[in-house]
């Protein structure tokens, strides 16, 4: 599939962005339309460890998970639901395992759809298995073939939507983020990550097209989320939150590549960059926040709802709770969150609710501040402005986010001295960079080849 760069905003203004509606809604699965005026819970789950022992056990586990979720949804009257299966490695490394799981799940979902009319769809997220013990092995070779085969087989056997959390650039990013090296982060996410995505997403989109399923999207989980998790809570001391949001803003320029290469959304739940991407590309997005505390803690539990189309719990291990199995508990909570958003949409109060959701967390830390939809929109503009240059647009995003945080800090956004200092250092380092992509790339190639022993330029078709 050809790559079409985004150089314009899908929305004329930030205020047009709301949850449940996307400029380009996506039809998927059994009667579902995403971003077409209502929000839908997207339920995520992880099999119990013992279940990974054999294909049979794993299929059985996913059957239980699927039945539990569907049963709870009809019990509480939820009109629609999406199930996301994030492959455990066995399922991607042995594409027929993934296919068997997809088939088993879809069969159950079809039964429920037939019996109750519940709208539903199945997303399979293939594991990015392109790496060996020491190095990434991003292109060519057997790993790449198995990787694509996994998409193909899932698509053929019941998955309605294909996704991945790709890893391009992470070897450099990992090194850089632990050293406050923001140019390195820019290189890892913005340049290497985007280059890798361009390759894989053209291929994934072709697979999807061939099989008449949805190429949904990617997330910078490997990098921006790692930064967010290392930054942690208010009292953690592992990374300044002002740096985590720079990495996040850069990641928007990267994850956008999926849609430029043929994906149509919904973006993956853990892409906290998705508000920015929705602003640019108009695709529906999944998000997670206060109802994914089962999977992680963050500082923008409400804010992430602001313009989601699917609302997700990210992941929860399957086991029992007083209220049912975990997947039932979390699915139910998500469904009520969606019901509230859908009431707002139905009664014309969606903008009011959206604004309250954003206001809840935009002063909680610098990350929420930048991702609040009106600021996210600005980061989007900074990207679209130089949409044709993957380096420049990522750098723009970084600088715009810094500017937004600085403005915030002059208002109601409090920063610790430490956060301010980290921000100022990052700003200086980023402003000192060239505007020339080739120059930047060759400087970085030299530097990181030397400093990061696991960095192999061949992975990006370099040198």
């Amino acid at each position: 599939m050809p790559v079409t760069r985004c150089t314009k905003m899908a929305y004329a203004s930030a205020d047009e962005m709301v949850f449940g509606k996307a400029v380009k809604p996506v039809k998927a699965g059994l009667g579902l339309e995403i971003g077409a005026g209502y929000t839908t819970p997207e339920v995520n789950y992880a099999p119990r460890p013992e279940a990974g022992e054999s294909k049979e056990k794993l299929v059985k586990e996913y059957e239980r998970i699927t039945t539990d979720i569907m049963a709870r949804m009809v019990q509480i009257g939820a009109p629609s639901v999406v199930l996301e299966t994030e492959h455990v490695q066995q399922m991607s490394n042995n594409p027929e395992w993934g296919a068997a799981v997809a088939h088993a799940q879809k069969t159950i979902m079809e039964d429920y759809h037939d019996e109750y009319g519940i709208k539903c769809a199945l997303r399979h997220t293939i594991g990015d298995i392109r790496e060996s013990r020491e190095y990434l092995e991003l292109r060519g070779g057997n790993k790449y073939n198995v990787f694509m085969e996994a998409f193909e087989q899932c698509a053929q056997n019941g998955a309605d939507m294909l996704a991945v959390e790709s890893m391009g650039g992470k070897e450099v990013f990992d090194y850089a983020i632990l050293r406050n090296d923001m140019p390195g982060v820019l290189y890892g996410i913005g340049v290497l990550g985007s280059m890798d995505m361009e390759m894989i997403w053209q291929d994934i989109a072709s697979v999807a097209k061939k099989n008449n399923v949805i190429a949904s999207g990617d997330t910078d989980c490997a990098q921006a989320n790692t930064a967010m998790f290392i930054a942690g809570g208010l009292l953690d001391k592992n990374l300044a939150h002002t740096l985590a949001i720079i990495a996040r803003s850069i990641s928007a320029a990267r994850s956008l590549v999926a849609y430029e290469a043929g994906a149509v959304g919904p973006g993956k739940d853990c892409g906290y960059e998705n508000s920015i991407i929705k602003a640019i590309a108009g695709v529906p997005i999944a998000q997670e926040g206060k109802t994914s505390t089962c999977a992680h803690s963050d500082l923008m539990g409400n804010l992430t709802m602001q313009c989601c189309d699917l609302w997700s719990n990210e992941s929860v291990e399957y086991h029992g709770e007083f209220g049912g199995t975990t997947v039932q508990c979390w699915a139910e909570t998500l469904a009520y969150d969606c019901a509230l958003m859908n009431v707002a949409l139905d009664s014309g109060n969606e903008k009011m609710l959206r604004d309250m959701l954003a206001a809840s967390d935009m002063y909680r830390d610098a990350q929420g501040y930048v991702l609040a939809y009106q600021n996210a929109y600005r980061v989007g503009q900074a990207i679209a402005k130089d949409g044709n240059d993957i380096y420049l647009r990522a750098k723009n995003a970084a600088l715009e986010s810094i500017k937004i945080v600085e403005e915030g800090a002059r208002g109601k956004l409090e920063l610790s001295r430490f956060e301010s200092k980290a921000l100022a250092d990052a700003k200086a380092a980023l402003e000192a960079l060239t505007d020339d992509k080739e120059q930047f790339m060759s400087d970085c190639l030299t530097k990181y080849k030397e400093e990061v022993k696991v960095f192999k330029p061949e992975n990006y078709g370099l040198k």
């Binding site: 009257g77 939820a78 029992g320 007083f322 139905d346």
Partner: protein
């Protein structure tokens, strides 16, 4: 208040799915045609104790044997009730009221003869030590009785040793346990171990809010039941296929 269209927010699946037939119509289809049995079965379905006894009186007057009426009329009526409950046509209170009526009927039959009906089998029921949540157990006991089983109900908060003693004394075909608290359900393991130690191998059906399949699978005799209605099904399964725990689990473990 704001005005919304509920159908944009939720689906009343129960209303949507409701069967065309009324419960009465559905029951009518199932009653036996025999004119002495029909009114008894119908009275059971309706939960009318007086009508049950009246029907039995007439049947006995017309020469029927009181004890055979238990199987041939009362249980037949009760099976209509259970079937319709399983199919979702009627609700639990109807079953409870039918069960009350059936038990009154059995008492009446017994009072009309010196014969003793052949027992279907005994089940011991209890709520775990330390736990007072007993309505689930009460339903289980009632449904077992309604299915014709002899229930020895030990009540709630029953010490482990008393449960074991009751099994030794009653020699039931199944033991049931109910626990609604994670802190109390561990008593099931103890009961299991003590029973094993003494050489008992009877199925130990466990249920109640706190209990889950994973937990119950951890001890040899445990069979997890999600709904009260599973209890009589388990007992029936044991009578039909024997008390192999693995097979019971295959049948009843759903998660």
């Amino acid at each position: 208040m704001i005005d919304i269209d509920p159908s944009d927010i939720l689906v009343r699946y129960n209303v949507k799915m409701e069967k065309e037939m009324t419960p009465e119509e559905a029951a009518e289809d199932l009653y036996p045609k025999d004119s002495t049995v029909y009114p008894i079965a119908k009275a059971i379905f309706e939960g009318e104790e007086d009508d049950v006894v009246e029907g039995l009186e007439k049947a006995i007057d017309s020469g029927k044997d009181p004890i055979s009426l238990i199987d041939e009329a009362l249980m037949v009526g009760m099976r209509v009730v259970t079937k319709l409950y399983d199919e979702g046509v009627i609700f639990l209170p109807n079953v409870m009221m039918s069960a009350d009526a059936m038990l009154a009927g059995i008492e009446y039959c017994k009072s009309q003869t010196s014969e003793v009906p052949e027992p279907k089998g005994k089940v011991v029921c209890h709520v775990a030590e330390g736990d007072v949540h007993d309505i689930g157990k009460n339903i289980v006991a009632a449904l077992l009785r309604a299915a014709g089983y002899d229930v020895v109900d030990l009540g709630r908060d029953v010490p482990v040793d008393e449960v074991v003693a009751a099994v030794e004394k009653e020699n039931p075909l199944m033991l049931t346990g109910t626990a609604l608290m994670t802190t109390t359900m561990y008593a099931f393991k103890e009961i299991n171990d003590k029973l094993m130690e003494k050489g008992y191998r009877i199925p130990f059906a466990c249920g109640g809010g706190a209990v889950n399949q994973d937990f119950v699978s951890q001890y040899d005799l445990g069979v997890y039941g999600e709904e009260a209605a599973d209890a009589p099904k388990m007992a029936d399964f044991i009578k039909e296929h024997g008390d192999n725990i693995v097979k019971l689990r295959e049948q009843f473990h759903r998660h």
